[in-house]
Symmetry: C2
Subunit: 215 residues, 2 copies
DNA sequence: CGGTGGGTTGAGAACTATCAAATCGAGTGG
DNA sequence: CCACTCGATTTGATAGTTCTCAACCCACCG
């Protein structure tokens, strides 16, 4: 927790106070921490594992609106309710705070608000960039973009251990599972990637992949 | 400017200092203030008029990733470069600051950072909500959602003076101009809206429109 | 009165979704 | 160790939406 970005700028006394507010929790893959529309009670940051942020339409179509990696922040400070669900994709551990206590603490410690603002601005840039993908890119371009994004955020070598199932990839990309699968095999047949296993992937031609991803 | 949310919590001395940093500018419809990828030099808030935030793919497909209304904040504090262009949709006037000067000021005035954080969190929620639309909704559902959103943000009565051309609506919704037009006429024939003119629209059956928009 | 730019409408092509079947893979129990 | 099973993934065939290209309409303007 000491290494996480939200508290890294605090002096020892404040850090101690903050750590008294928080507690460490573990969740299993598939568990949902926060439900869309619920009151926002928890905030915190991820120590290990990955989670998804998702929303659904009235008739149940799901869209993943964000993927949360270790050291990322989750939850909605300064707001009544959460606009999306938070669900563990893998087993995960987090350091969480009660929202109102965290809000008060942040309000008294400008460094925390500053760090949170910096992160939120980065997340907003990322979300808007993803809107380009969802609004304007073809299936193949979307899959290529996702592969590159995961590769970057997991700082993977050539081979990536995919953290997402095909269904989850589809939910991030706004596609169906079949279309994701077909796009992957198309990239495979083009010699750009290999799929040594259903959850393993290697990038064989990074430059070609980038060209496809960028449209 | 005194009414804009970024500075509304400042004491008179700080407010005076901030107003010395800023200047008021006017832009004409169509003018671009910031280009995607350029260094982020300006920040500020909108006094009157509307602007769009947009990005393009490598081959020129455009996606509008945000619409900026009066009193909204534009620009990217605390970051090297802007990830999207900022272009006026209508004639507009803004109160702008040099980014580095604003960054310094904000860093010294927690209230400003707090206000900025609150706004950024709201924008992030909005962007993620729009991702659901782009990833999972049909053309008609998207158009219905946009009509309701504009109606809400312009606090319009029954009749809305559309601030967007068909092309701009298409760029917000991730559709083509023809599909937007067809969806509008479909809603018109269903008796849900009327189109008294090309830039005027009335909502005749708000409940039905909501049901369609929510999927 | 003809041009111009935005908007609408139509026909066909392209892409993605849907439905169905085949295949693969990991875990299970014999 | 091997057949078996269940869920996940891939593949195939077909249908549906949206895009593309083209024509047309209309209001506005010189």
């Amino acid at each position: 927790m000491r290494a996480s970005a939200i508290c890294c700028s605090l002096d020892p006394v404040a850090l101690d106070a903050l750590s008294r507010l928080g507690r460490k929790i573990h969740v299993l893959a598939g568990q949902t921490l926060v439900w869309e529309g619920d009151e926002s009670i928890l905030v915190g940051n991820v120590l290990a594992g990955m989670l998804k942020l998702s929303t659904v339409t009235g008739d149940g179509r799901e869209q993943i609106v964000g993927i949360v990696y270790p050291s990322d922040f989750i939850g909605r400070p300064f707001g009544r309710d959460s606009h999306h669900s938070v669900t563990a994709l893998t087993d995960a551990s987090l350091c969480v705070f009660g929202r109102s206590a965290f809000d008060r603490f942040a309000h008294e410690h400008g460094e925390v608000e500053h760090a949170l603002l910096a992160r939120t601005l980065v997340e907003l840039d990322r979300a808007r960039h993803w809107m380009l993908l969802l609004g304007r890119k073809s299936a193949c371009e979307r899959v290529a973009s996702l592969i590159l994004e995961m590769s970057a955020r997991l700082n993977a070598e050539q081979e990536i251990a995919l953290p997402l199932s095909r269904q989850q990839m589809a939910d991030v990309l706004g596609l169906t599972i079949e279309t994701v699968s077909r796009s992957l095999t198309k990239l495979k047949h083009a010699g750009i990637i290999s799929l040594p296993g259903t959850r393993r992937l290697t990038i064989d031609a990074p430059d070609k992949l980038k060209r496809i991803a960028d449209g």
